[in-house]
């Protein structure tokens, strides 16, 4: 499968999910707009996945353990 075909297959799969959830609210033109947005999301996710990180590279996150003070 070519790279373009792989992207298209991924977009098709994700679009099917969105159509299943919200398809009844959208006409064909709006659905085409959503497809364009999903194509951008897929391209972005592929760019993210292309960068190799180590096991020690943690997410930037604000979580902290919580304990109510008396």
């Amino acid at each position: 499968m070519s790279d373009a075909d792989a992207v298209r297959a991924e977009v098709d799969t994700l679009l099917a999910l969105v159509r299943e959830r919200y398809g009844s609210r959208m006409d064909a033109e709006q659905l085409a707009g959503v497809r364009t947005s999903i194509e951008a999301i897929v391209q972005a996710s592929r760019a993210l996945r292309a960068v190799r990180l180590t096991n020690a590279d943690e997410p930037a996150q604000p979580f902290a353990a919580y304990r109510a003070e008396p």
């Binding site: 999910l17 609210r25 707009g33 999903i38 951008a40 999301i41 391209q43 960068v51 990180l53």
Partner: protein, 466 residues
């Protein structure tokens, strides 16, 4: 009071108030009148808070008369982007039709801090609906209509703090509070020829502000000068138990940088690629000015997908923050037609990719800090283009129709930046220069911006009333 106070920087207004040459009540009446008379011409105002303003102004006047001067914002009128909660029956609409009558029973921390500083809330200012988080593509994306640019009323004031930009630029308030997730302070500041300061993430409490993206949202001032931005930042900065992302670092605005201080500026390689000609030319002239203030050197960031990192975080968090609105279909009540369906696509962001973006964000923050460490500021055009026309499609790095490495890195890594005007481009519209620094270095970027403004006069030019 004569309108010669209009377009006077906060610092000079404050001197007049402190010396009791200016009356806070009269000053407030002047700006309330302009907000009511001219605000609709710019679609800049959601609510004029006249009663609250007069009450605060009278209190300020009495305190000052009694010798209890609180500081440089005491008695100074201002406006707040309408995503900051206000009590007392003043609506907080988030710029969105579904919330146009909604009121809160508390004040956002930034509103409370400004009240404590003695500032006078005169208006809740218009904004792009939900701070632009639904993917709008046009200026007409608020129930108040498109933000109109005071320099050219056929052009947009910018987003998403559109009213904050046009109100200050039109002399309707001396300063305003805006918010930035990605570009929403620097964009209207640049489009309207103002100074706009995006503080370090965690510097200013977001409590009571609409959440678009918990890990990207910042509040900051738009004003006539970089110096005024520093005065306002000092009033709104600080740790807040109601916002656990705020840090326990005291902020004191340092306006007294020694004369003749030399700065070290960096410019990212290729930063003007894709800019309009006038933007590129004005930036080149700005660099000449900056070379008179210090050194300018070319620098490079490592090759990482900066835009994709910040965009993925923004889309995923916005989809979660507005889950109810999106899943209920209530987004169909928004103004921009594309906001009715674009957010549905965000369900396609996989959790693993969001976490990868958060991991890369740490890498990005370290890379940016390594580049910034020897510098006082990275400098770049504030925007690649002048403001869009009201009927045109808006180019946006958030949607991927423009590149904005400075915005992606600056917002993704939570770094402070200030935009100041640096000339004019097509259709008589302003262009801008941005200066971005290391985390917590607001005083450094403000000192550099002040030095630039001391050597130029773009900030002294103002549009005529319609």
């Amino acid at each position: 009071m004569a309108e010669d106070v209009v377009f006077t920087p906060v610092r000079q207004l404050a001197e007049g108030i402190r010396a009791r040459r200016l009356s806070p009540v009269a000053l407030t009446e002047t700006f309330l009148d302009r907000l009511e008379r001219l605000g609709p011409r710019y679609n800049a105002v959601v609510t004029v808070t006249r009663d609250r303003a007069i009450e605060q102004a009278r209190r300020a006047e009495a305190e000052i008369a009694a010798g209890r001067y609180r500081g440089p914002l005491h008695g100074i009128p201002y406006g707040a982007k309408d995503l900051l909660a206000t009590s007392g029956g003043i609506p907080t609409t988030w710029g969105a039709a579904p919330f146009k009558d909604r009121c809160f029973d508390f004040d956002a921390t930034a509103i409370l801090k400004l009240e404590a500083a003695g500032a006078v809330l005169c208006a809740k200012l218009a904004m792009v609906e939900l701070a632009g988080g639904m993917g709008y593509r046009q200026p007409n994306a608020a129930f108040t209509g498109p933000g109109v640019n005071p320099w050219n009323r056929e052009a947009w004031s910018g987003g998403s703090s559109s009213g904050s930009g046009s109100a200050v630029a039109a002399g309707l308030v001396p300063f305003a509070i805006g918010s930035e997730t990605w570009g929403s302070i620097l964009s209207p500041a640049g489009n309207c020829g103002l100074a706009g300061l995006r503080p370090t993430y965690g510097r200013v409490s977001r409590h009571g502000a609409m959440a678009l993206c918990w890990t990207l949202d910042k509040l900051g001032p738009l004003a006539l000068t970089a110096d005024d931005c520093g005065l306002v930042l000092e009033a709104i900065a600080g740790r807040d138990a109601a916002d656990p992302t705020t840090v326990d670092r005291a902020y004191r605005y340092d306006a007294g940088a020694p004369a003749g201080r030399r700065f070290r500026f960096g410019v990212l390689r290729g930063i003007t690629d894709g800019c309009e000609d006038a933007v590129r030319e004005n930036f080149a002239r700005s660099l000449e000015v900056l070379r008179g203030l210090g050194t300018v050197e070319e620098v490079a960031l490592p090759d990482l997908p900066y835009d994709d990192v910040t965009r993925t975080i923004l889309f995923a968090e916005a989809a979660s923050a507005f889950e109810d609105l999106i899943e209920s279909g209530a987004i169909a009540g928004l103004t921009a037609p594309e906001d009715h369906y674009t957010p549905y696509a965000r369900d396609a962001i996989l959790a693993k990719d969001y976490v990868k973006a958060l991991r890369l964000r740490s890498v990005m923050a370290r890379a940016a800090d390594r580049v910034l460490a020897p510098l006082d500021a990275l400098v770049a055009p504030g925007r690649a283009t002048v403001a869009a026309m009201l009927g045109a499609e808006v180019r946006s790095a958030i949607r991927g129709t423009a590149r904005d490495v400075m915005g992606a890195v600056g917002n993704g890594a939570g770094l402070p930046a200030v935009a100041v005007p640096n000339g004019f481009g097509a259709r008589g519209l302003p262009t801008s220069l941005q200066l971005m620094g290391r985390a917590w270095e607001e005083n450094t970027v403000l000192a550099a911006a002040r030095a630039y403004q001391s050597a130029t006069d773009w900030h002294r030019r103002h549009p005529a009333d319609p």
